[in-house]
């Protein structure tokens, strides 16, 4: 392409819209995708997604192996990786989106001849925007409930049979609860703010009007809280006879970040000079126990609680599980169908629905999917059902984008094929 424009702005626009830039961005994205796929052999999909695809920058690792054998082995038998610094997929895709809009839509001639390509590009832009909206504006989590017994008396006290909240699969938060009798006042700090307290770090949490500060130390992402026996040596502080032990996934097991339980130490210092120490554990107890067990302390006669927990989202309706049904292929343990018969309750009334694989419940902008069941592997009764609840404004945009892209590609390649079949080019190529 010859640069007609001279001004720097025009040159920048020309660069941003250039096809060469698209090619390099696509190749960069392909490299990231490939490395991000290989990285999942040792890392959890969620972590890889965070690190490779939603980040600004990544040091990608390419395990050097050939024919399934490591070229150079590390101590644990895994191949020694080549470390390659790359921009994350997030800026690459953002730049690609700009490149697509500038070069593939704005600067392209709007003619019948280019119509197929323009439509396709429009579809891809819609897809990328849908991805960005999903990444920034959507959230998802799980809601687990036990089958509601027919008779009131058969309910067990702690269990969750009905829920109007769902909790994030991966993300945690530290909640400060203020006990106001019939009400609870809640203030939260996202997990991200606690990361500075990993290792030897510390984070001090405060808020306007609070008569105390909370110092968080030794935040561990994957931990268990264990009693300190007489023969146990640890560097971690021991509080109330227990300490936080960092856990590791065994070699050969793909880590699952949703199964990791974080823990940390907190020190509360009131302005009156009181001091409280405690360990917090983010163990999710649902659906066996719907209650949370915050570390409670009293300052100036007011009771407060600190709770490390999965991020909680509130729903405008409640889901109650009336019945869970699992059917296996005959004579096997492999499920053919599992579905939940639920009642959805809100202020206006109640409604019955069935949720099963490939058939979610859509309501008030939320989508409720059947995702798991328990107890596994023994089965029930009592059964419980695990739903994924997702709030995503761009829920159906990809489906629309898919249709748009299909129309565009069909138009473009169809026209090209017909043109070619008609053209003299074909005649000249045929012998």
């Amino acid at each position: 392409m010859t640069a007609v424009a001279q001004s720097p702005a025009a040159r920048v626009v020309a660069f941003l819209g250039s096809m060469k830039l698209s090619v390099w961005l696509l190749l960069l994205l392909a490299a990231l995708t490939w490395l991000g796929t290989l990285a999942q052999v040792e890392r959890s999909t969620y972590d890889v997604q965070r690190e490779y695809f939603e980040s600004w920058f990544v040091v990608a690792e390419l395990p050097l192996s050939f024919w399934g054998k490591a070229l150079v082995e590390r101590a644990d038998g895994t191949p020694w990786p080549l470390r390659i610094p790359l921009p994350g997929a997030y800026p690459v895709m953002a730049l690609f989106c700009v490149n697509l809009i500038v070069g593939g839509l704005l600067r392209m001639k709007w003619s019948w001849r280019n119509s197929g390509i323009l439509v396709t590009h429009l579809g891809i832009v819609l897809l990328l925007v849908a991805g960005a909206v999903k990444l920034h504006a959507s959230y998802a989590g799980m809601l687990a409930v036990y089958e509601n017994p027919a008779a009131e008396g058969q309910r067990l006290a702690g269990r969750q049979y009905e829920s109007s909240t769902f909790t994030s699969f991966h993300d945690h938060e530290l909640a400060l609860l203020v006990d106001r009798g019939d009400a609870i006042e809640e203030r939260v700090v996202p997990e991200r703010a606690l990361w500075a307290a990993r290792g030897d770090g510390a984070v001090t949490l405060r808020a306007e009007g609070l008569p105390f500060t909370v110092e968080v130390r030794h935040f561990v992402d994957h931990a268990s809280v264990v009693p300190k026996g007489p023969m146990v040596q640890t560097r971690m502080p021991v509080v109330d006879g227990a300490f936080v032990r960092a856990e590791k996934w065994p070699v050969g097991v793909q880590p699952k970040s949703e199964a990791e339980i974080p823990a940390c130490y907190v020190t509360v210092r009131s302005d009156a000079g009181d001091r409280f120490e405690a360990i917090l554990s983010g163990d999710p107890r649902v659906p066996k126990d719907r209650s949370r067990y915050p570390f409670a302390f009293t300052v100036r006669g007011q009771r407060y609680g600190l709770d490390l927990r999965h991020v909680v989202h509130d729903l405008p309706f409640a889901v109650r599980l009336d019945k869970f049904q699992k059917l296996d292929h005959p004579g096997t343990m492999s499920p053919r169908d599992f579905r939940s018969f639920v009642t959805v309750v809100d202020g206006a009334g109640s409604q019955e629905a069935q949720i099963f694989m490939n058939n979610p419940l859509r309501r008030d902008g939320y989508v409720v999917y059947q995702t798991n069941w328990g107890p596994q592997p023994a089965g029930g009764p009592p059964w419980y059902s695990v739903f994924e609840v997702s709030w995503n404004p761009s829920d159906i945009w990809p489906a629309i984008a898919c249709i748009v892209i299909w129309i565009g590609l069909f138009l473009h390649f169809g026209k090209k094929l017909l043109g070619f079949l008609d053209s003299s080019a074909r005649a000249s190529l045929n012998q």
Binding site: H329, P330, T332, S334, M357, P398, C402, R426, L429
Partner: protein
């Protein structure tokens, strides 16, 4: 085109085929001693009994499918072949007879002649040190493998189990070849062992002592388990009467009988042979024979099961072939009628026919014929008849393959692709079809040759995979995949993309071969055509891959609430799209010309292999539904072949930069505004 080059190529192909054939014609293993079964199974009976419905691994399937999948898993071959050397009198030289048993005949032998079947040379030992480890003698000059019969192997069962348990404890990466073989051998032994034990209760008669005991069974002195099931009520009353004094001599050998029964009723393995009386909605699981015995002893048996088991047992214990066939036929009719009454097994006859007819094998052979004719057409460029003959053969083969896949759809009740096995047939067919259409548009004979090659190659892979995998290729699906809409929309679209990607890579490899070997020197018209063809097929592949990938995301959004999860299989599909989009844009912006385009397309072929198979072998993610080390070898062989072509093409391009004028791209110039 230079005929001499084509002729040399042809000669090499023929030599290769001959070498392959020679390597197949090995001496079959030997079986010493006389055989119990003195006459062959009647062919018509084998065909009938192959269609016996039974329930196994979650679905109702014919006897022949059970036999075939079990044989693949245990034996790693489609048939059992051996030379039987009868015992000869002193001085005589025994005359060996070669036997070749189909899977159905083999399983019938296991049921009816267990003593003979356990002498069949079945378990393949590829590594001689395994034999040494297990303490077997071997002649030291085996051709790398030897077959062991079950009877010998089971004698070392405990040792094998210990070795297998030790091997199991090691991490995958640290296992030696011997460890792997030991593990495999132990798994195979277990499979056969279950099969061998399955009819233990039916394969013998029990003696009855004591008048009172005999009186229960109308004075009979011997008893078959089916007879006991028929008299279950009277026998239960007798046992109740005996109470804790069952060892009292006045009850005859009741104690032995009870011991035998408790053994017979607790062996729960093997396929379920007896359809329950209750309708399918109330009871979907069939009963095994031990279950039926157990139910009969508790007074809860389906009344028809005693009769069915009786006919089966009569067949197993028959004195001669005629009686045996008669009883087994009666058993077959009873089960088929009971299954039909439950609305099950309608497709069993079709499935049995499907495996017997083996249409994809015929399709493969027709492709091979089409390929040979196409090679001839290349050698003799002026013969239009050869072109038509090859075209016709390839279309016929595609038709056979379509029919084959269509029957599979009818049997499973699902769209064409449900398991990894199906993808081979589908991709082979679609790849061949794409190339045939390309040849139709650009008649340069290269695609005519590549199309049947592609078809035959992938059917061949499918057959290898079927045996290596050793599993039912129509196994029922897990709940999330049970959506015929999405199975019918996303999966075929995606696989058409794979197939076209493979076809494009083949064309690009042909381009490289043509250039490296200077086949169309000096005018390079053939290369130009191939480049156009690779471009066209890539466009087709891109269109289907992009739509297929996004459809997959839409399905995932409907199943799991996320459009894209960066799962390995999803990433693989995305990689194909990215590579092809980048390629088309690089071509349009002049970053690559024909040479770069061909190399890039070959590399994209590698990505297709990665996405299609390698992602499954990483062992992570939602799509990890298949694993076998043979497959991993296949993947690396494919990478190597593609890599060789890539390196050859790259070297050639570096050493001899393009002398011919650049191919004009008619439509591309107009795409960019301002040009």
């Amino acid at each position: 085109m230079s005929p001499s080059v084509m002729q040399r190529l042809l000669a090499n192909v023929v030599l290769l085929v001959l070498a392959l054939l020679a390597s197949c014609g090995r001496q079959p293993p030997r079986l010493q001693g006389d055989l119990e079964r003195t006459e062959p199974w009647p062919a018509d009976f084998v065909e009938r009994f192959g269609a016996l419905p039974l329930q196994h691994e979650g679905r109702v399937m014919p006897f022949s499918t059970l036999a075939a999948t079990t044989l693949y898993a245990v034996h790693g071959r489609r048939d059992v072949q051996f030379d039987a050397v009868p015992t000869a009198a002193a001085g005589e030289i025994p005359a060996p007879r070669t036997f070749k048993l189909s899977p159905t005949e083999w399983l019938l032998d296991v049921w009816c002649f267990p003593g003979q079947a356990e002498r069949y040379p079945l378990f393949r030992i590829e590594n001689v040190s395994v034999l040494e480890t297990l303490g077997f003698q071997h002649d030291g000059q085996t051709q790398g493998f030897e077959y062991l019969p079950y009877g010998q192997l089971v004698a070392q069962g405990q040792k094998l189990q210990d070795l297998a348990q030790a091997a199991e404890k090691k991490p995958q990466a640290q296992r030696s070849a011997v460890d792997e073989q030991v593990l495999q051998l132990f798994r195979q032994l277990l499979v056969y062992h279950r099969l061998h034990q399955q009819h233990a209760a039916l394969q013998s008669e029990m003696k009855l002592d004591g008048d009172s005991l005999r009186a229960v069974f109308d004075g009979a002195s011997t008893l078959r388990i089916a007879g006991l099931m028929q008299k279950a009520e009277a026998f239960r009353a007798y046992v109740k009467d005996a109470g804790e004094k069952f060892e009292d001599p006045k009850y005859g050998n009741l104690a032995d009988l009870l011991l035998f029964l408790s053994d017979a009723a607790t062996a729960r393995s093997g396929p379920s042979l007896l359809p329950p009386l209750r309708p399918r909605e109330q009871e979907d699981t069939w009963h095994t024979v031990p279950e039926a015995i157990d139910r009969a002893m508790r007074g809860a048996a389906d009344p028809q099961h005693a009769a069915m088991a009786g006919r089966l047992q009569d067949g197993l214990l028959a004195k001669d072939m005629k009686e045996r066939v008669g009883s087994l036929d009666a058993y077959l009719r009873a089960v088929a009628a009971a299954a039909a009454a439950r609305g099950e097994g309608e497709t069993v006859a079709l499935e049995s026919y499907y495996y017997r007819a083996n249409w994809h094998f015929h399709a493969m052979m027709t492709f091979v014929a089409g390929f040979l004719v196409a090679v001839a057409a290349c050698v003799l460029p002026r013969s239009g008849m050869l072109w038509w003959a090859s075209m016709a053969a390839s279309w016929l083969a595609v038709g056979l393959l379509v029919a084959d896949v269509w029957i599979r759809c009818v049997i499973t009740g699902h769209p064409p692709i449900t398991r990894l096995y199906d993808t081979f047939l589908f991709i082979g067919g679609v790849g061949a079809l794409t190339l045939l259409i390309a040849e139709w548009i650009l008649r340069r004979r290269v695609a005519l040759t590549l199309a049947p090659f592609c078809g035959a190659l992938f059917i061949f892979f499918a057959r290898l995979f079927e045996v290596a995998d050793g599993q039912d290729t129509m196994k029922p699906l897990q709940a999330v995949l049970l959506s015929n809409f999405w199975l019918g929309v996303h999966v075929p679209t995606m696989n058409i993309g794979y197939a076209a990607g493979v076809a494009a890579a083949l064309v690009a490899m042909a381009w490289i071969a043509v250039r490296v070997l200077r086949i169309d020197h000096p005018d390079s018209s053939l290369a130009k055509s191939l480049y156009r063809m690779a471009y066209g097929v890539t466009c087709f592949s891109l269109a289907t891959s992009v739509v297929g990938t996004i459809l997959g995301g839409v399905w995932a959004n409907d199943s799991w609430g996320r459009f894209w999860g960066w799962d390995p299989k999803e990433n693989g599909a995305l990689l194909i799209c990215l590579a092809q989009i980048a390629l088309l844009h690089a071509r349009m912006s002049g970053m690559v010309r024909d040479g770069g385009f061909a190399l890039w397309t070959v590399a994209t072929g590698g990505i297709v292999v990665f996405s299609w198979f390698h992602t499954n072998l990483l062992g992570v993610g939602l799509h990890a539904y298949g694993f076998s080390s043979e497959l991993l070898t296949g993947v690396w062989v494919s990478y190597s072949v593609l890599g060789l072509f890539f390196v050859a093409g790259y070297t050639d391009l570096m050493l001899r930069p393009k002398p011919a004028p650049v191919d004009k791209v008619p439509a591309a110039d107009a795409l960019v505004a301002g040009r």
